[in-house]
């Protein structure tokens, strides 16, 4: 401590953010709801990374999961059902200084939000997307979601869901420009945290599917996984997640999986018999939309004046009247 002035220490301490600094309103999810664990892991990340709360934006859609931003003390955007991703893209496009997170339910993301999910993966903007997958519509009280397993009785499928559950991982891994795909379960905080952390540091769009318990409507959805650790296939790799010793002792079904290997990632994602947990795929070299679309020009008023004057000169009556048509023809079509 020699040489360190008292003032500095004080200031450092003052600025150090604790978990409480990221806590918004008290969460009102059901007791035992898995969303709580996801919230905690995310707050831990913010604390560990010491993210300035005012630089974080949590964008969500509508649903139980989508209440997430209210429980953070950062900026939050609790928007429309299904529209979290394009909103988040808009937030990020010209604000590289902001850390933008997206929290969606399985209905939010994989049903009404499908088009945005696919296209956001494609644009590969630097966002962390967490899909809270409880296999059900929680907030609207128990309707089938695309990830509801075949035969599950819900209020809209009282005779049982008609279709096999959709696998969001295989879809995501099929999208051109996919750059980060992880799957975790909220009841293993260590892996959950690590996936969010790696997502946060990923250079592009990070998609995490989080299996999330909904004790209220689907108490048994994941009971098989909970009771039998062998049902989880822990993906290990030096470039992926590395399990702690305790975890390794409990979860022994593991595979060395290199997140760079997309073919293997697709095969793993496709397995019906076991649930792969960890980083399925990562590629840090895919161009990011906010970067490739960035203009080299500044948005100063002077620059605007220049451009306007240029246009007015070009369209000036004394100049070239016909050029007013260049590239401006109102198209035909429907």
């Amino acid at each position: 401590m020699f040489g360190l002035s008292k003032q500095c220490v004080l200031e450092l301490n003052e600025e150090y953010k604790t978990l409480e600094d990221y806590q918004g309103r008290i969460s009102r999810w059901c007791p035992g709801c898995g969303d709580n664990g996801i919230l905690t892991a995310t707050q831990r990340l913010c604390r560990d990374e010491q993210l300035p709360p005012e630089k974080c934006v949590f964008v969500s859609g509508i649903g139980c999961a989508a209440r997430f931003p209210h429980y953070m003390s950062t900026y939050g955007f609790h928007g429309l059902h299904g529209r979290a991703l394009p909103t988040a893209q808009g937030v990020k496009i010209r604000r590289p200084d902001l850390h933008v997170f997206v929290n969606m339910g399985d209905g939010d993301c994989c049903s009404i939000g499908t088009a945005h999910w696919i296209h956001t993966v494609r644009t590969n903007m630097k966002l962390v997307a967490m899909m809270h997958d409880n296999n059900i519509y929680g907030l609207t009280k128990n309707q089938a979601s695309p990830t509801s397993p075949l035969g599950m009785k819900t209020n809209t499928t009282p005779q049982g869901a008609y279709l096999k559950a959709m696998n969001p991982l295989t879809v995501t891994l099929g999208i051109t420009n996919v750059s980060f795909v992880a799957q975790v379960v909220e009841w293993l905080p260590e892996v959950l945290y690590e996936a969010i952390r790696q997502a946060f540091h990923h250079n592009g769009f990070a998609f995490i599917r989080i299996l999330q318990r909904c004790p209220h409507f689907t108490p048994d959805a994941f009971s098989g996984l909970l009771s039998d650790p062998k049902k989880l296939l822990m993906l290990q790799h030096e470039d992926g997640i590395q399990l702690s010793e305790t975890m390794s002792r409990l979860y022994k079904t593991t595979e060395q999986h290199d997140p760079a290997d997309i073919n293997r990632a697709r095969e793993l994602a496709d397995r019906d018999d076991i649930v792969p947990i960890g980083i399925l795929y990562r590629n840090e070299n895919i161009p990011r939309y906010e970067q490739v679309t960035k203009s080299t020009h500044k948005s100063t008023w002077e620059q605007r004046e220049n451009v306007l004057n240029g246009a007015f000169d070009k369209f000036g009556i004394d100049a070239d009247f016909a050029s007013a048509n260049k590239g401006t023809r109102a198209g035909d079509g429907e």
Binding site: H70, G79, R83, K294, D332
Partner: protein
């Protein structure tokens, strides 16, 4: 007076023939797609403008990308209305028509685009076409035109042009420009200059043959045509620029200081983003083509929320898809500018044609109470300025502003005074300074309507925006009082803004027998029609609304001074001429509804969904009929 000819003894600049002195003339040039009628029209329009006329040009666009040749629906071309007084619309029937084939020509005739008996210059090559069906079709049309007393001149364009170029089909358009130069007595040098500028850079070897064609056309007209027209210049005092409404919108976006435009292609709005895509990067802006209109609108909202005020551009079907997000922007008080370049509806409707059918949808389309501001440019110049205004209002009142342009403005071209650039137009930079303690993110001064927006990045301003009912802190709250307060506060913004609006001007006397109320692109046509009938002593005036929601004060007082009030609009209304229609079921035109509901005045309407700009002559006839 419009369309009226006066015999004069003056000689035209170019020839020894007698020229008829005109105040204005309307020319149409139609060809198959790809034969260059559009280029010819644009070039001649430019020349007319440069030699001092006021000019309005409109493109004639076929319904298909590459329509089959020699079909009425496949015609491509240009209409030019030029005059020696300010021209504000496309006018009535064309008075001189040039057709590259008789089918393209007939398309316009069926659509009543030509003045009966007008001059027609028609390519004559089809008369002797080897395909007897074609030859017969041609002579059939010639017979009809003669029977109906059109002044038909058959012009051997192909034959004349093939003296100069191999592919005469591709050269006819310059021959046509040459003829027009002669007919309207313009200095041929002007056209030579245009050709040079056009081809010099990219295809210099085309300059010479095109000039040859030009001169050939000029000479042919000189030898063979027995009419000449003179349209004196009108005195322009200030610098002018020429653009169509979509270009003006794009320039307005640059001038407004916005940084993001999120869109999904849709006719007739897309061309605004085309041009914007070219120039926006130069000011650090960005046009995002989203996967659909919903994403485009959400993207714009996200960007606006983060402090980069955004615009989204669309047309009717796209606005329909944005409906839910429009309400979010109002509910969460996120500034957003939405431009709707209206087309014919409902549904996919008439994608390339004009309609003013989205006004009520813009105002009332969002379920629940989502008060927003709706405005409509009436001229191409307005297209530019309305975007600047819209951005300002949107940010000041933190709400959605919808700008209703239409296909008529989008595709029409007109000169307007070169805007004097003002720094005031621009948006303030993103405020990143800490938020003072005690401030709530949704506080709002009930008198001025002003509020401070909290933008991500500002320390101390953290809150969660939501589309759920919420209090001034943005906290979700379902209490009856809070929801009432929230709705009330958002609605009162409109009232506060409304207090700042000026009553519209009355064109004509302040009282009389008939007041015509309009909005949007019909302004020029309405005012021209009113001016015409006023010359005959009819007590008719007009007024035109820029803000449709809220509406300025004073409108009731204006209306009350007239015996009758009606709107003229390009949208659907039932007519009492239909047997089934009575006062219990008549469906009124959009603006008429609004005026009736607010002012309880029996506002009638005259409207149609022909998909075309309403002509001053048609309005004129309607007025005369009505006041007979």
């Amino acid at each position: 007076m419009a369309g009226e000819m006066k015999q004069q003894t003056a000689r035209s600049a170019s020839s020894g023939k007698r020229a008829t002195l005109l105040e204005e003339h309307i020319i149409e040039i139609v060809s198959d797609s790809g034969e260059g009628a559009q280029t010819a029209g644009q070039m001649f329009g430019t020349i007319l403008a440069k030699s001092g006329n006021s000019v309005w040009t409109v493109e004639i666009i076929p319904a298909e990308i590459e329509p089959p040749a020699r079909t009425p629906a496949g015609a491509s071309g240009n209409r030019i209305r030029a005059g020696s007084f300010p021209i504000t619309n496309a006018g009535d029937g064309a008075e001189l028509v040039i057709g590259f084939n008789e089918q393209a020509l007939m398309g316009g005739k069926w659509e009543n685009r030509y003045k009966p008996g007008c001059i027609i210059l028609l390519e004559s090559m089809w008369a002797n076409h080897p395909d007897p069906e074609i030859a017969a079709a041609y002579s059939g049309v010639v017979n009809i035109l003669n029977e109906e007393n059109y002044r038909l001149y058959e012009v051997p364009m192909e034959q004349e042009c093939s003296r100069f170029v191999e592919d005469a089909r591709r050269g006819k358009n310059m021959f046509v420009v040459g003829m027009l130069m002669n007919i309207y007595g313009r200095d041929l040098q002007l056209a030579r200059h245009e050709i040079e500028t056009k081809f010099k850079a990219r295809k210099p070897d085309l300059v010479e043959p095109n000039i040859a064609l030009l001169e050939a056309g000029y000479e042919w007209a000189e030898q063979n045509l027995d009419f000449r027209f003179e349209i004196p210049p009108y005195g322009v005092k200030e610098q002018q620029v020429v653009a169509n409404g979509n270009v003006a919108v794009a320039l307005g976006i640059v001038a407004s200081g916005m940084e993001v435009c999120a869109m999904y292609p849709i006719t007739p709005a897309t061309s605004a983003s085309h041009y914007l895509s070219e120039i926006f990067p130069e000011v650090g802006g960005f046009v995002h083509q989203a996967e659909d209109e919903i994403a485009a609108c959400a993207f714009a909202i996200g960007s606006s929320y983060s402090g980069k005020c955004a615009v989204t551009i669309t047309s009717g079907p796209g606005m329909a898809l944005k409906t839910e997000l429009m309400a979010l922007s109002v509910m969460a008080e996120i500034p957003l500018v939405m431009v709707n370049v209206q087309r014919g509806g409902p549904s996919t409707g008439l994608p390339t044609k004009v309609e003013q059918g989205d006004l009520l949808a813009a105002i009332f389309g969002t379920p629940g109470d989502a008060p927003k501001i709706v405005m409509a440019p009436a001229t191409i110049e307005d297209c530019f300025y309305s975007i600047i205004t819209a951005r300002k209002i949107a940010e000041t009142f933190r709400t959605l502003v919808i700008v209703l342009s239409d296909a008529n403005l989008a595709t029409g071209q007109q000169a307007f005074p070169r805007p004097k650039i003002s720094k005031e137009w621009g948006a303030p930079p993103v405020d990143q300074s800490p938020v003072p303690a005690g401030k709530d993110p949704l506080d709002w001064d009930p008198v001025t309507g002003l509020s401070q927006r909290f933008i991500p990045g500002q320390p101390g301003g953290m809150y969660t925006l939501t589309g759920l009912a919420h209090d001034r802190k943005g906290l979700v709250a379902y209490g009856p009082g809070i929801n009432q307060e929230g709705c009330n506060r958002r609605s009162l913004k409109l009232a506060a803004f409304q207090k700042t609006l000026q009553p519209p001007k009355v064109c004509g006397d302040e009282s009389g027998d008939l007041l015509i109320v309009g909005w949007g692109s019909t302004k020029g046509a309405i005012e021209e029609a009113v001016a015409r009938v006023r010359k005959d002593g009819l007590k008719v005036s007009s007024t035109h609304l820029t803000f449709l929601q809220p509406m300025a004060s004073g409108i009731k007082e204006i209306m009350q001074k007239f015996r009758q009030v009606m709107t003229v609009e390009i949208n659907y209304s039932d007519s009492y001429e239909d047997e089934l229609i009575d006062e219990n079921n008549r469906r009124y035109a959009n603006l008429a509804w609004l005026l009736r509901a607010r002012y309880l005045i029996d506002v009638d309407c005259w409207s149609n969904v022909h998909g075309r700009p309403i002509r001053p002559g048609a309005i004129e006839d309607m007025i005369r009929e009505r006041l007979k």
